[in-house]
């Protein structure tokens, strides 16, 4: 592909699903209805920790309009002694998360569900379910969960030979940190704390499930993976996967939080039992209290450097909240936090801590923002101690092609240093600052994933193209696929339709997440397009009666490869399509593979803040994010990913946090008190796209979506330090906390 003559790759085309979205016609899962549909509602635990002694559903079942009541006995059990792994989840936890078995483990934990003719009746029926609890002591925060006399959530979980709430650990080692620290001229060691924050997708969880009389289920749901929905529902209900069709509705945000199921298995069983389609919609309060936020954390970071700025040793110890069941993203914290740097001696260790709060779910580079927060803040202190520019310090230690990362792999060609250079030379970095303003920088890394993907590319009878891919589109990936397809086939972008298939109409495709949708789907679409181009050449060969090796495909036409091949006028795609039946039949191809070659992404951010010194209020005045994206297939949507991640980072750093009250209940379950940034809180979010193409991808694509959330926490913390002259070691930097730091208490 010729860079200079790219017609569609790199162009800001209008997305194929756009008209439906701006007219309100796009069907999100709670917009979907079916004839005969009834409503489901979930009964949730009022206690943070309790044994379920008995559940009596008789009164609920007797209420007029109620069609079915289910409890955990209607969900498949996965015994605690046998791990059953599905992707990044373990079905032992999933079955208990969707419906409590013998214990409720967080306020809001589902323990029964009702289907009734109206939502109001279903809700009323839930109130009539009688549950006898034996209330147990509970622990919400990490400190409370790991102290010696902490209430234990799961009897079978042991650490150091005793029952514990530490459910797992993860470690990375490189070199010898003791030796390393011994060489250091300056060592900084600090403790950091963050609170749980929610992905904050505007569309709550919902689904509509219809199980027919023959037992075949059709699921419409808001999810980041219809194949995951099918598999999880199959595991949890016992229905074979081939009898489940999971259709991905348009999705109103996910950011990782919709990579598991909460409602689909319940709605499926209710539909089975009632013989009616069942719709369940979670409200905002239940979404906040019962669907996974990401972990709160406490960590200790220790970094040592010599006077010339070389980092000689680094250590990160992380405790991450898992919520009620094991599975916090310690992998992201321990694996990504030091990745931008070439450090000879390094050690990261993560602890997975369960406690009585909702089970965490993935959130945009899970664990990595937490990991980077402490490291990037300590690097700022090291730079200050060495009287060095913080970007120069990072440059001296920057990972490059050939560096062995702490988490194992050797980096191929990538553009981290380019992001640092771009930051150093950016006008933002030199712009003057006013009173009570400060500027901070930070870098970040995320693994990015490859994974399975399937695509189909079919030529229509009128010579246009329909592409079907397997991943829900949460950021505009359809637009990018249309660009690539148009480029490969040499036709106008408007002639390409891109659709997302469901589990029955497209081959297995892994989750939308891991910054992989475009990476993976572009690969399989490229392969499919290649096969189709070969088919088109074959058809031309047949029509002209020449050898297919003598034909080339260019600008949407088949032409003879040279004068020797014969003098034939080029055949357009439309002309060949018109003759498809006569030349052999339908023209189209599919391709499925477990894609490999996904390489990590790097970014550097610059942030200016202004602080109201009497009230402690921090406002972001200017923000620039710089990221190596490999190749920006659709620059506007790439920018959109950067800007969205920065906005989430600003919220995480300044105003978002889960607040629990003295009863162990989540106190801020709505958007009034769970404070996400509003339009007037933010400035324009500038972006710089760096393109160091991924050598392992046909278009050079690197995953883009997750890296943007990794640097902001530290970039903003470092900026606040410059504004007020004192450092904060915990998030969010809310006004009362900042005022306390200013006043030196």
């Amino acid at each position: 592909m010729n860079e200079i003559s790219n017609k569609w790759i790199g162009k800001n085309t209008v997305r194929p699903d756009g008209a439906e979205k701006v007219t309100g016609r796009a069907q999100y899962s709670s917009d979907t209805t079916m004839p005969g549909m009834i409503w489901g509602h979930v009964l949730r635990s009022p206690h943070p920790h309790a044994k379920i002694i008995s559940i009596n559903t008789k009164k609920a079942e007797a209420l007029a309009g109620v069609k079915s009541v289910i409890t955990s006995k209607d969900i498949v059990d996965f015994p605690l002694d046998t791990p059953v792994i599905l992707g990044i989840q373990d079905m032992r936890w999933m079955c208990r998360n969707v419906m409590a078995r013998d214990k409720v483990l967080f306020h809001g934990h589902p323990l029964a569900a009702v289907a009734a003719t109206t939502e109001a009746i279903a809700e009323k029926a839930c109130d009539l379910i009688e549950v006898e609890y034996e209330i147990l002591p509970w622990a919400i925060d990490i400190e409370d969960a790991i102290k010696d006399d902490a209430p234990i959530l799961h009897d079978h979980i042991q650490f150091n030979g005793k029952p514990s709430n530490i459910a797992g650990t993860l470690e990375h080692k490189k070199g010898d940190i003791e030796e390393g620290f011994a060489k250091a001229d300056v060592i900084i060691e600090k403790d950091f704390k963050t609170e749980a924050v929610h992905q904050g997708y505007l569309e709550t969880h919902s689904c509509l499930v219809s199980v027919a009389a023959d037992g075949r289920a059709t699921i419409w749901s808001s999810s980041q993976g219809q194949f995951m929905v099918r598999a999880m529902t199959s595991f949890l209900t016992g229905i074979p996967q081939s009898n489940i069709r999971a259709i991905p509705a348009e999705i109103g945000g996910g950011f990782g939080g919709k990579t598991i199921v909460y409602l689909e298995p319940l709605a499926t069983v209710l539909s089975q039992k009632t013989g009616r389609p069942v719709k369940i919609v979670m409200n905002r309060e239940d979404t906040m209290r019962a669907s996974g936020p990401t972990s709160g954390s406490k960590s200790t970071i220790k970094i040592g450097a010599t006077n010339d700025g070389k980092i000689v040793a680094a250590q990160g110890i992380y405790y991450l909240q898992a919520g009620a069941f094991p599975g916090s993203p310690i992998r992201g914290a321990a694996g990504c936090s030091l990745a931008p740097y070439d450090i000879p001696n390094a050690h990261t260790f993560g602890y997975d801590v369960v406690s009585n709060r909702s089970k965490v779910a993935a959130y945009r580079a899970p664990g990595a923002p937490i990991g980077a927060y402490g490291v990037e803040c300590v690097l700022d202190e090291i730079a200050e101690a060495l009287k060095m520019c913080p970007l120069e310090l990072r440059k001296i230690n920057a990972a490059k092609e050939g560096t062995k990362a702490v988490h194992g792999p050797v980096f191929p060609k990538m553009g981290y240093i380019e992001t640092l250079d771009a930051a150093i030379n950016h006008p933002h970095y030199k712009a003057p600052l006013g009173k009570h303003q400060g500027r901070g920088v930070a870098s970040g890394f995320w693994f990015n994933a490859g994974g399975e993907s399937s695509a189909q590319l079919n030529i229509t009878e009128d010579g246009n193209v329909v592409v079907t891919t397997g991943h829900p589109d949460i950021g505009g990936s359809r637009a990018s696929i249309a660009n690539i397809t148009a480029e490969l086939l040499g036709i106008h972008h408007d002639r390409v339709s891109v659709l997302i298939g469901d589990t029955a109409t497209i081959g297995y495709s892994n989750l939308t997440g891991g910054s992989r949708v475009l990476f993976a789907s572009a690969m399989v679409v490229t392969e499919s397009a290649q096969i189709v181009i070969n088919q088109l050449k074959q058809r031309a060969a047949k029509i002209w009666g020449i050898d297919e090796d003598a034909i080339e495909w260019e600008n949407g036409e088949a032409r003879p490869a040279g004068d020797n091949a014969g003098k034939f006028a080029p055949l357009t795609l439309a002309e060949i399509a018109d003759k498809a039946t006569a030349t052999g039949g339908p023209i189209g191809a599919g391709y499925q593979v477990n894609t490999e070659g996904a390489e990590g992404g790097f970014a550097t951010h610059i942030c200016d803040v202004e602080v109201d010194m009497d009230l402690g209020i921090v406002r972001v005045k200017r923000y620039t994010s710089i990221q190596d994206v490999g190749k920006a297939i659709h620059p506007d949507y790439v920018e959109g990913q950067l800007q969205g991640g920065c906005a989430q980072g600003i919220g995480w750093a300044l105003s978002e946090e889960y607040i629990y009250n003295k009863d162990g209940h989540l106190d801020n379950t709505g958007f009034l008190d769970y404070r996400m940034p509003v339009c007037s809180d933010l400035p324009m979010l500038d972006t710089v796209i760096i393109e160091v193409p991924n050598p392992k991808h046909p278009q050079g694509v690197r995953g883009v979506g997750e890296v943007p959330l990794v640097p902001p926490l530290a970039a903003i913390s470092n900026a606040v330090y410059q504004a007020i002259g004192k450092r904060s070691y915990s998030l969010p930097m809310s006004p009362p906390k900042v005022l306390k730091i200013i006043e030196g208490n």
Binding site: N12, V14, R15, D17, G18, A19, K21, V22, T23, G24, R25, A26, Q27, Y28, S30, D31, Q199, G200, Y201, L202, E203, T204, E250, I251, G252, G253, G254, F255, N283, R284, I474, G475, G476, H634, D636, Y637, E639, G640, Q643, G644, C646, A647, Q648, G670, F671, L672, M676, P677, V678, C679, S680, L682, M684, L685
Partner: protein, 159 residues
């Protein structure tokens, strides 16, 4: 439990419906009238996804009883384009990638339309404060604000 009969006007069409006294306008729009373009993201007036224009004022339909629509004129997202032709704001949102997942988009379009109806030449700050009642989690608002300012500019030029 007796239902209330309501006669109202939605997107320049006469509409009649029966509703419970406690039904919200959003509920009736979505579940009775098949106007699912307005979305419910919070149910408490904090996110703006359910924004409609009621007798010329921008309001949250989740904070309005369906019974209150009697005799009023409502505009919802479904009425923003006319005869299949997109409103300038809708077109600009598409061209400027001012949406990602799109769930907040109907609310933002209603709010932006109301803004330009009241104030055709807003500054960036005025746009940001007017749209503060509409949450977006995907875009960071940058492209949305730029799209609205550009439409205002386009309208000024063609005036």
């Amino acid at each position: 439990m007796s239902k209330i009969q309501v006669s109202t006007n939605i997107n320049n069409e006469s509409v009649e419906y029966l509703c419970e006294p406690h039904d919200t306008m959003l509920n009736v729009l979505r579940n009775q009238l098949d106007l699912t373009g307005s979305k419910e993201s919070c149910g408490s007036g904090d996110c703006g996804s359910c924004s409609i224009i009621l007798d010329g004022e921008l309001v949250c339909s989740c904070l309005m009883l369906a019974a209150e629509a009697e005799g009023s004129k409502l505009e919802t997202i479904e009425g923003m384009s006319e005869g299949g032709k997109l409103h300038a704001l809708q077109q600009k949102f598409l061209e400027k990638a001012a949406l990602q997942c799109g769930i907040c988009t109907p609310g933002f379009l209603m709010a932006s339309k109301a803004l330009l109806d009241h104030n055709p030449t807003p500054t960036e700050t005025e746009v940001r404060f007017w749209l503060a009642g509409n949450l977006c989690r995907c875009t960071g608002y940058d492209k949305i604000v730029k799209a609205v300012l550009e439409v205002a500019d386009d309208m000024k030029e063609s005036a």
